[in-house]
């Protein structure tokens, strides 16, 4: 069997006495569309923070392209090809929208991007529908525009693995469709995508495979059709 793009092996994360992740393992294959769902507080964001390197896991190991990246700093992981968005947008507020992308192009995609990234930045902004706002200071954007900027900025890293952390929360249903179309297109172009989402319609339509977290444990994994009929998942979401 070929080595998966990402392999998470028994990852444990504690915050003081609270165990946020209790030994989670999963594999994401190259080119896959992978969904990660679970109730609030189940550890989804903690898990992707461990994968992207902003949190250090206390136990277990993480492999990317077969290489152990458990101790690798976050910026290095981004350069290796793992890019994430933040659930609560964190734009570089003093910079314009296009300057936000320039940071990523310059620092993360430096081996993959053209020397003058402006044209590339504009292409990405056009894809997410922010091209008209390219010159606007990013702290003046609306919440929804900031979410799009989050996605655009991560895309500018030209990642092999894009992790989208609730990029769609608060969007209208046509905007959700727009973002889904963007992610589908990225995936067709070869980017592996992990989607964390509360909008079930979106995550079920998008994902080829879904993992469900509950209280820091993986309780189910499989194709969407299997997940919706899973008893444990139902209990996690709706209670007994």
């Amino acid at each position: 069997m070929a080595e998966p793009l990402l392999r998470v092996d028994g990852v444990v994360k504690r915050f003081g006495g609270f165990q946020a992740l209790g030994g989670v393992s999963l594999e994401v294959r190259e080119g896959e569309r992978f969904g990660l769902i679970g109730p609030n507080g189940s550890g989804k964001t903690t898990l992707i923070s461990c994968i992207s390197g902003t949190l250090r896991n206390d136990g277990g190991r993480i492999f990317f392209r077969g290489r152990d990246i458990t101790r690798m700093p976050a910026h290095q992981r981004t350069r290796e090809g793992i890019a994430r968005t933040f659930q609560i947008p964190r734009p570089f507020g003093s910079m314009s929208v296009v300057e936000n992308l320039r940071i990523t192009l310059e620092y993360a995609a430096r081996d993959r991007a053209a020397p003058d990234g402006l044209a590339e930045a504009m292409d990405i902004l056009r894809m997410v529908g922010l091209d008209a706002k390219a010159g606007v200071v990013s702290s003046r954007l609306t919440q929804i525009e900031m979410r799009k900027l989050e996605l655009a900025r991560a895309m500018a890293a030209k990642p092999a693995l894009l992790i989208s952390d609730e990029a769609m929360a608060g969007l209208s249903s046509s905007e959700v469709d727009d973002l889904l179309a963007i992610l589908f297109r990225l995936n067709e172009a070869g980017t592996t995508v992990i989607m964390i989402e509360h909008i079930m319609r979106a995550v079920m339509r998008f994902s080829e495979r879904i993992a469900v977290l509950d209280a820091g444990e993986k309780i189910a994994e499989g194709p969407p059709a299997m997940i919706v009929s899973d008893k444990a998942v139902e209990r996690a979401y709706l209670g007994e």
Binding site: S52, G53, T54, P73, A74, H75, Q76, T78, R79, A83, R84, F86, R90, P91, F92, G93, S94, M95, E99, R102, I103, T104, E106, Y107, A108, A109, R110, R153, A154, A156, A157
Partner: protein, 314 residues
């Protein structure tokens, strides 16, 4: 290119400073001018860390004094010439800067600032107890003969400080207009997001604290020859920390020009206040101006000008 014009402007300023030393006979001009230029260096140095990356350093006095005492030590030990003192002061203070850079691993915001203040206090205690460099009583320093073509030492130091100020501002300008400067800004705006977008935040923060600390040390290096007397009270003075923070705030922290404007403005006002009113009052003045700016124009004079320019033509 804008860079070339600024280089020409810098050359003109240096030439101007030399011309002044040939024409003006009043030594107070050099004394005051040196003081203001010293603040151009300090404010610019502070801003490289505080303005560009957002880490507020309250320990400017410590870095400055470390530069001063490096010079005192070298004068005592080997009678080192001024250029050697300046380079050594930059190295020593830069090393200390690198040290506080590692603090940013664990300390952010107010906690980082408090630790820099504590560091200055520790350094002061060491100097107070180190007899070789004068201890608490301080020490006198004898100036060497002024270098040709200067006929007195203050005018020579005035030109030296002009050169250092131009160097500091050029450093800030280069940083600001480079990939490094954009990385700094990303750290200031959101450090975690910067790291996730591939910015090597630790390495850049270490660079910022080192360069900032080194320039502060450089600003202090000629001080022993400037006053010919060095003691802990005058070198570790809180006014260095307050001023080098207030000046960029007043001028505007996001651009190299901000600290320059702030230093010239506040530096001049303080010199005038010291002469005309009292030497005690000038720090109060700085405090009031700072409060006024923080409340009314948080982006400093540059921000104010930008806002007016946007409103103006419409």
């Amino acid at each position: 290119m804008r860079g070339r014009w600024l280089l020409i402007l810098a050359a003109l300023l240096l030439a101007g400073a030399i011309v002044v030393t040939r024409t003006v006979d009043n030594r107070y001009v050099y004394f005051a001018g040196y003081g203001i230029l010293q603040y151009v260096v300090l404010a610019t140095a502070w801003n490289i860390l505080g303005g560009y990356t957002g880490y507020v350093n309250f320990g400017t006095g410590g870095f400055f004094a470390l530069g001063v005492y490096t010079s005192v030590f070298l004068i005592r030990a080997v009678k080192a010439p001024l250029p050697v003192q300046i380079v050594a002061a930059g190295l020593v203070a830069g090393l200390l800067g690198l040290g506080i850079g590692y603090l940013t691993l664990r300390l952010r915001g107010t906690f980082f600032s408090i630790s820099t203040l504590a560091l200055a206090v520790v350094l002061e205690t060491i100097m107070v107890n180190w007899e070789y460099v004068g201890g608490a009583r301080g020490t006198s320093v004898i100036r060497p003969a002024p270098m040709v073509p200067f006929d007195n030492y203050p005018s020579f130091l005035f030109v030296v400080m002009t050169l250092l100020a131009l160097g500091a501002v050029a450093t800030a300008w280069l940083i600001e207009h480079s990939k490094i400067g954009r990385g700094f800004a990303a750290i200031r705006d959101n450090e975690e997001a910067a790291e996730c977008m591939g910015v090597p935040t630790l390495r850049l923060k270490l660079l910022a604290t080192t360069v900032s600390g080194a320039l502060m040390g450089v600003a202090g290096a000629p001080f022993p020859y400037y006053l010919t007397f060095v003691d802990p009270v005058s070198t570790f003075n809180l006014s260095y920390a307050v001023n080098s923070l207030a000046m960029p705030m007043v001028g505007g922290t996001t651009s190299w020009l901000g600290p320059v404007i702030g230093a010239i403005l506040l530096g001049t006002v303080q010199q005038l206040a010291t002469v005309t009113i009292s030497s005690e009052l000038n720090l109060l003045l700085v405090g009031l101006v700072l409060v006024a700016f923080v409340v009314l124009a948080p982006e400093g004079i540059l921000g104010l000008v930008r806002r007016l320019a946007r409103r103006g033509p419409a």
